[in-house]
Amino acid sequence: MTTYSELAKARPTLKQVSPMSHWFVTIMGVFNILLGFTLMFGIDKNRLSASLIIVNEFSSYTFWGIVFILIGIVKLYALFSNNWWLSRKSLILGVSIKAMWSVALIFRIFISPGTVFITLCWLCIAALQMCCYIFFMPPNIGSFNQRREDR
């Protein structure tokens, strides 16, 4: 067993410190993987009446599918290895991409109306992730340990 893994085991888990963050990261990790596979294999492009704007000639559905799968895997790996720093970074990366998609979907409403429902659902998911990051995610293991020492 390496020193790093020994240290990781000695740390309190995210579930012990902030159960809500733990479950949110787990759910979002699974959701991202499922979404990624859906984008890669579950879309029949011939049946789409309009483009998704964020999916264009530079970024395809496959590209975004891989991105979401990778983020999901990183989230679950961070939980498995008890790496708070990676959990935080994967969550903020997810916030960034979800915000990116949200803005594109909002543009999509004005350019070609009819996707308000999907946009609303997506905005809710993005807002939930933002709230989780702002209010429930512990800062990092270093400051947590420092606070414990101060006490």
Binding site: S51, I53, I54, N56, E57, F58, S59, I92, L93, V95, S96, I97, K98, A99, M100, W101, S102, V103, A104, F107, M130, Y133, I134, F135, M137, P139, S143, R147, R151
Partner: protein, 132 residues
């Protein structure tokens, strides 16, 4: 002209994607800053433990002693000023006393001379009167 050329190269969808990407990064930055501020506020709101309360008590005591010391310092300064003024006054009184002593000595010497002159004049008058 350049803008029009760029527009022809880059499609609307890509432009909107770029705007979305930049917005996404800006929003993530704002969320990150907000999270830091919330953590700072949480840390401020946490109840203090006994050791921290004891340290605060010591700090208050030190502040109180500092205030006492300042008051003493001011009192010492006032006394020093008073002492300086009193010393000056004593010096002036000593000078005045010395001057008065000198005047007294001089006056006594003058009186002595006048008395001697008077005695001499009386003797001279007696001798003149007896000679007649």
């Amino acid at each position: 002209m350049y803008f029009a050329a760029a527009q022809s190269v880059v499609s609307d969808n890509v432009q909107i994607s770029i705007i979305s990407a930049v917005s996404g990064i800006v929003i993530a930055y704002i969320v990150n800053v907000a999270a830091k501020k919330v953590q700072e506020q949480k840390q401020k709101k946490q109840p203090k433990d006994r050791m921290e309360q004891m340290f605060d008590g010591y700090e208050r005591l030190i502040k109180q002693k500092d205030l006492e010391d300042d008051r003493k310092q001011r009192y010492i300064k006032i006394i020093e000023d008073e002492l300086t003024a009193t010393k000056l006054h004593v010096g002036k009184l000593e000078e005045a006393m010395e001057r008065t002593n000198d005047e007294l000595t001089q006056s006594r010497e003058e009186n002595q001379q006048l008395r001697e002159q008077l005695d001499a004049m009386r003797k001279e008058y007696k001798s003149v009167k007896n000679g007649q």
